[in-house]
Subunit: 142 residues, 2 copies
């Protein structure tokens, strides 16, 4: 049996975050000891590990909820889980593409001003004027 602090140490998830996951129903309510403190078993630890790993991979909590709902069902759970993972992969690839455009633009802007030019900053001008941009860059939904 683990205390919430032990769970936190083992998984690397902060204590208030564990309680938060329980609040929103992502983790099942664990048992309590005589003094009303949470006591987790191995299943609780595994569930938290799953959430942690999926969060590290950028899955939204709602995706994780869906993935956990699938686990243990028979039938098409694999197809659904795979679909969620592939969607996530596409999201990540899209974000990378967006960020690469952004990096290009920021490099251009930074190079405008390698020294100082006193009072008329080209960086500020470039930021104010999208027309100067070389490529089209949309919003960075980062």
């Amino acid at each position: 049996m683990y205390s919430i602090g032990a769970m936190s140490k083992v998984t690397g998830v902060k204590v208030p975050t564990i309680r938060y996951y329980e609040d929103i129903g992502l983790l099942p309510e664990p048992g309590r000891n005589a003094g009303n403190q949470r006591r987790y078993d191995q299943a609780g630890m595994d569930a938290l590990g799953f959430v942690k790993h999926a969060r590290d991979l950028g899955f939204a909590l709602e995706d994780i909820r869906a993935l956990m709902g699938l686990d243990g069902q028979l039938g098409d759970d694999c197809a659904e889980a795979d679909q969620i993972a592939r969607t996530q992969l596409q999201n990540v690839r899209d974000r990378i593409a967006k960020l690469e455009q952004l990096a290009t633009e920021l490099e251009r802007i930074s190079h405008l001003c390698d020294g100082g030019n006193g009072g008329c900053c080209k960086v500020l001008t470039a930021l104010g004027d999208h027309g100067q941009c070389v490529g089209e860059h949309g919003r960075a939904d980062i």
Copy 2:
């Protein structure tokens, strides 16, 4: 003179967002007409355009506030603006690196399950077990 709706159309920033920017002091309060509606001049339009472009480039509102504070000052504003832009560029590059690790990991996980295997999903197993991961991937602070 522009109404808030006209500002929104020209810049692509939504009306409630413009009001929000004003609320937090990022944009100066514009004048009002007899019926208490906001009326913007060209300077107001330029300021909103600056914010929009900087947001598109991924700058935080606080960074934008700092950049706008610099504009018009004499002296070292260029160095400071350049510094903020370079920091932002570094952030973007870091995020790209993180996301590329993630994409690799997600590809690996997706490939585990190209068909269906009924009832014992390897995607779910892989998500549950960080030990299976090929490289080290930290949290995707996306």
